[in-house]
């Protein structure tokens, strides 16, 4: 590993750790796992000062405050973090920590109920067999839901998770049909590590650009069913396009890299 890369890696780890601790220490932000628009109150970190910005017409370097990043919508909070140059791995660590924390209570509740069923008398256990299966199934789905939510929050634009849920409930669609999948091209992959040519990097940018055009741009109402429909049509098309552009071999490497980064759980139909 090159020295600069090592330094960068260590710095990212330190920064990620610091930010996670800071966020956890003042954890009055609430993540509602069922809703796409996440209510957020600012973390209790005050007057943290970072390095001054590069020389400009401003006479005095500005003091950075966490409240500059605050937003009621978690997507905007992520956007603000990106805006100050927060490295992607750090950003992922922050978002992941918040999502895992948000799911902590539901997981504990499910585990407690399963444990209670086990502790009951055997006749009750027999009667509650169906309930236990359902609870276990719900518990098993949580990692996938967490991964999907992390991807959603890290996405370029908010994915209409709630709209998907509503639409599925309304139309009686299967869970798989209503899944919101982030196109592979939009997953946070380190392209530099994939030894891609400039042409190949350009076509990935082209696929991203085309996907954005297909869904109508970034400023969309996540509750709009038409937006959901556009997304669901554009996503497999974007994956098809990426595979055609990069070829099967590189596409599979791309998928593997995403898998290693824990991002592919939300892309069940990417493999063909």
């Amino acid at each position: 590993m090159k020295p600069l890369l090592k330094i960068s890696f260590v710095l990212n780890l330190v920064l990620a750790g610091g930010l996670i601790l800071a966020l956890w220490s003042g954890h009055n932000r609430v993540l509602h796992t069922a809703a796409p628009e996440l209510v957020q109150t600012p973390p209790l970190v005050e007057a943290t000062t970072v390095s001054p910005p590069p020389p400009s017409s401003e006479p005095e370097p500005k003091t950075f405050r966490w409240n500059q990043l605050e937003a009621r919508d978690y997507h905007i909070f992520v956007k603000n973090l990106r805006g100050i140059g927060c490295p992607e791995p750090t950003l992922r660590a922050i978002v992941s920590a918040d999502v895992y924390a948000a799911y902590e209570t539901p997981v504990k509740v499910l585990e407690r109920r399963i444990a209670e069923l086990h502790a009951g008398i055997w006749t009750n256990q027999l009667a509650e067999a169906g309930t236990e299966t359902a609870l276990k199934s719900e518990l098993q789905q949580i990692p996938e839901e967490e991964a999907a939510m992390i991807n959603n929050l890290l996405g370029v634009m908010p994915a209409p998770l709630q709209a998907a849920s509503d639409a599925a409930a309304k139309d009686g669609e299967s869970e798989q049909d209503s899944a919101i999948v982030l196109p592979l091209a939009l997953q946070g992959i380190d392209l530099a590590a994939m030894n891609l040519s400039d042409d190949q990097k350009q076509v990935i940018a082209g696929v991203r650009q085309n996907f954005l055009a297909q869904i109508g741009g970034t400023n969309q109402d996540p509750d709009d069913p038409a937006y959901l429909q556009r997304w669901q049509q554009a996503q497999p098309a974007a994956d098809d396009m990426l595979r055609a552009m990069l070829g099967t071999s590189i596409y599979q490497n791309y998928q593997l890299t995403a898998l290693q980064n824990g991002q592919l759980a939300a892309a069940p139909n990417a493999q063909r």
Binding site: S197, D199, Q200, Q202, V203, A205, G206, V207, Q209, N210, A213, A237, D240, M241, R243, A244, M245, L246, G247, T248, S249, I250, Y251
Partner: protein, 399 residues
């Protein structure tokens, strides 16, 4: 002074009138779509109200490299000339999508301006002009273009039919009749051992290569996309000497290469080289330095017919086990085909015809445009297709 001004205005008036009367639109792009465009241009009631005057160079009829058609547009008035050259699909997309425009080489205006009737010349025009492009034909949409996908979207783009392609082999060591995606991908990477094609364990001392097109080609986009090689992946193809079947060299970063990212600029030339009547069984393989080689190639229907006619001796191959037929293409079992599109530039330039949009409308009309004139072989009309797909590599979905 007053007289001079009057004279000047008069001269300017004449000049402006001259430009206005020379209403000219420039069209380029896919060579695979050339015959279908020719048919649409010359059939009265499609683009022109009555049969236009044809001025053709560099071939014969619908196969000419340079074409100009003069007449009154359907939906228009006065005289308009559509000046065409066939640069290749990818080059066409870049021409119309690049901000400010990129130019192509067209026949000089004097040829069609002085034409008194139809003329067809087998050789190219002695005089040419460089000009911006208004409309292009492409074998894939702009989104699937490696060079065009990041350029601003064109003003208009319309799918008008399906352009089929074929894989062929030359008269080499390999004498098989079917080719698969994985064989093609290996061959595109600089050559695959013959054993991969024959299944014979002993065939490890000779190789199969791809003789292909350069990166201006839409056929190449579809071949690389459909096989999973990757549209934006740089290949190692060969070029074949059309006289004796020998491998042709190119220079890459100062060194001589026989397998590289190069290829023929036209399907017609590729057809003649893959079909050359000179068996490559004894020709030296300059890539792996052994005696004899085999080559496969991708071509449009018209060019593949040339490669297999009595003058040439290439063989048409099944693709992934599916023999070529129009019906297998229409049902989605044969997958080597592209979506033919007409693209209208969003660029404007001084002296540009006001009828560019009208020509786009005429060409894309479902009842009288290109799709209505498709012959069902070189270009398959939309109405005949029982399946659709977004682009090469995507699965054809039955209607």
């Amino acid at each position: 002074m007053k007289i001079n001004k009057t004279i000047l205005l008069a001269v300017l008036g004449v000049s402006v009138a001259g430009i206005a009367s020379a209403d000219e639109i420039f069209l380029t792009g896919s060579t695979a779509a050339r015959a279908a465009v020719y048919q649409t241009m010359t059939n009265p009631g499609c683009v022109f109200q009555s049969a236009p005057i044809q001025t053709l160079f560099g071939g014969s009829g619908s196969g000419d490299t340079y074409m100009a058609f003069t007449g009154t547009l359907v939906g228009g008035s006065g005289s308009t000339t559509i000046n065409c050259t066939w640069s290749g699909s990818e080059a066409g997309i870049v021409d119309v999508a690049t901000p400010g425009g990129k130019d192509e080489t067209f026949m000089a205006d004097s040829y069609w301006q002085n034409a008194s009737g139809n003329s067809d010349n087998t050789t190219g025009p002695a005089s040419t002009q460089q000009h911006f492009v208004d409309v292009c034909m492409a074998d894939n949409s702009q989104a699937y273009s490696p060079a065009g996908s990041l350029l601003p979207a064109v003003a208009n783009q319309q799918y008008v039919g399906v352009v089929p392609f074929r894989w062929l082999r030359n008269d080499g060591l390999w004498t098989g009749s079917n080719v698969t995606d994985s064989q093609i991908r290996q061959a595109l990477s600089g050559g695959a051992k013959l054993a991969v094609f024959t299944g014979n364990a002993a065939d490890t001392n000779s190789y199969v290569y791809v003789a292909g097109r350069d990166n201006s080609s839409g056929t190449r986009v579809n071949a690389f996309g459909d096989t999973g090689f990757g549209i934006a992946t740089s290949p190692k193809q060969i070029e074949i000497n059309s006289a004796n079947g020998a491998m042709v060299s190119t220079t890459v970063h100062g060194s001589t290469k026989y397998a590289a990212d190069f290829g023929q600029s036209s399907g017609g030339t590729l057809a003649k080289t893959i079909g050359v009547q000179a068996s490559t069984i004894t020709v030296t393989d300059m890539v792996n330095h052994v005696s004899g080689y085999s080559a496969i190639a991708y071509l449009g229907i018209s060019d593949s017919t040339t490669a297999t006619n009595s003058t040439y001796q290439a063989t048409i191959l099944s693709y992934n086990g599916i023999p070529w037929s129009i019906s297998s293409l229409e049902e989605g079992t044969y997958t080597f085909w592209g979506n033919e599109n007409v693209l209208e530039t969003g660029n404007t330039y001084s002296g540009q015809s006001l009828n560019v949009g009208l020509v786009f409308t005429d060409l894309t009309s479902p009842t009288t445009g290109i799709t209505s004139q498709a012959d069902g072989n070189i270009l398959v009309p939309i109405s005949a297709m029982h399946c659709t797909r977004q682009g090469p590599g995507a699965d054809p979905v039955h209607n």
